[in-house]
């Protein structure tokens, strides 16, 4: 049984995340998945703060649900959340430049919807960052 307020909040966030995972993977309850991931994110923000690495997972769930919706508006929202996720990953993955490069690549993908770029200028910036990382040996490709 959780004793402190933080322990209770952690349990609640974990439960919401699990429910969001099931709703998203189900493929037919994406709206539920978005709502649950949003609640998990809000719960974690309230007790862990805006910059905690644990916020990455509910953001990833939210992004995944939005991507499955296959709408330009939801794709743009996913990219916006992806920016926030990348900001958190820059800190969490500071010691893993290969993974950080993967995250930059993921954000570039989020800016692509049906073969069109949702924000060509931002996509270029990310492409340049990826090239710079490759020059310094930090753009590990998935093998």
């Amino acid at each position: 049984m959780p004793h402190t307020v933080d322990e209770k909040a952690e349990k609640r966030a974990e439960r919401l995340e699990r429910e969001a995972e099931d709703a998203i993977a189900d493929g037919f309850r994406l709206e539920d998945g978005i709502r649950l991931a949003g609640e998990a994110l809000a719960t974690r923000q309230a007790f862990q703060g805006e910059g905690h690495r644990d916020l990455i997972w509910p953001l990833s769930l939210w992004i995944e649900a939005l991507r499955w919706m296959h709408h330009a508006d939801s794709a743009l929202e996913a990219a916006r959340l992806g920016e926030r996720r990348l900001a958190l990953r820059r800190v969490a993955l500071a010691g893993a430049p290969d993974e950080l490069a993967c995250s930059v690549r993921e954000l570039m993908d989020l800016y692509t919807f049906e073969n069109d770029s949702l924000d060509p200028r931002r996509a270029d910036e990310l492409r340049c960052e990826l090239a710079a990382r490759a020059d310094t040996g930090g753009a590990g490709q998935e093998v």
Binding site: D26, I63, R89, E142
Partner: protein, 215 residues
């Protein structure tokens, strides 16, 4: 039920051994040494590269390269589910769960399609394959499109016994001609393949049959 049923041989004892690792992966936190050992075993398998054009092997490599990282920080839900499904395929199914929709019968699989209509009229077949319900569902992968169901060993024995008299008949439809005859021949191939799989599963205590719908 309509469409096709894919049936494969699974090492259920191995599945129980790796199940704690699958649970740990699902928790998307940092992995312990035992789970990492399971991932290393899968990465060493020749079947790992065959899953989704090597994407599964790539994910294993990324996870193993960073033991200090929590999975939730750098993977997505789809990545995690793919790793869990890939581990089950590579480590628990014979031949990496390989199957083909072109060849209905292989060394470790059978796809029942032509024979399905005939089998669905048999009580024992329906009881074995349809009435197990959620209790017979394999615990992992538990999300996504693929859900496996496993037979109890007594059901595999019952399946083998049920198939025997069917296969002792000279042909499933000796009077048929043309397409109907071809259909009957494929149905017989499927039934023979299923009998071979059942015999294989009964040959070792750790083995049984797993099945899932393809359509």
């Amino acid at each position: 039920m309509s469409g096709e049923i894919l049936i494969q041989v699974i090492d259920i004892a191995r599945f129980q051994t790796v199940r704690p690792a699958l649970s740990e992966l699902e928790a998307v936190r940092t992995l312990g040494s035992e789970t990492r050992a399971v991932l290393l075993a899968a990465a060493a398998s020749p079947f790992a590269l065959g899953i989704r054009y090597g994407h599964f092997a790539g994910l294993l490599s990324r996870i193993l390269r960073h033991p200090e990282l929590e999975l939730r920080v750098f993977l997505t839900l789809r990545d995690v589910d793919e790793v869990i499904h890939g581990l089950v395929r590579v480590l628990c199914f014979e031949n990496g769960a390989k199957y083909s929709l072109v060849e209905p019968v292989g060394s470790n699989w059978v796809v029942l399609e032509s024979s399905l209509l005939m089998f669905m009229h048999l009580n024992w077949f329906r009881q074995i394959f349809l009435e197990g319900g959620s209790e017979s569902a394999l615990a992992y992968p538990r999300r996504g499109e693929v859900r496996y169901y496993v037979l109890r060993r007594e059901d595999v024995a019952r399946l083998a016994a049920g198939l025997r008299p069917l296969l002792e008949e000279p042909a499933l439809a000796p009077e048929a001609e043309g397409l109907a005859r071809l259909h009957a021949e494929v149905a017989r191939l499927e039934a023979e393949g299923l009998a071979r799989l059942a015999a294989r599963a009964l040959s070792a205590e750790k083995l049984t049959l797993a099945h899932r719908c393809l359509l």
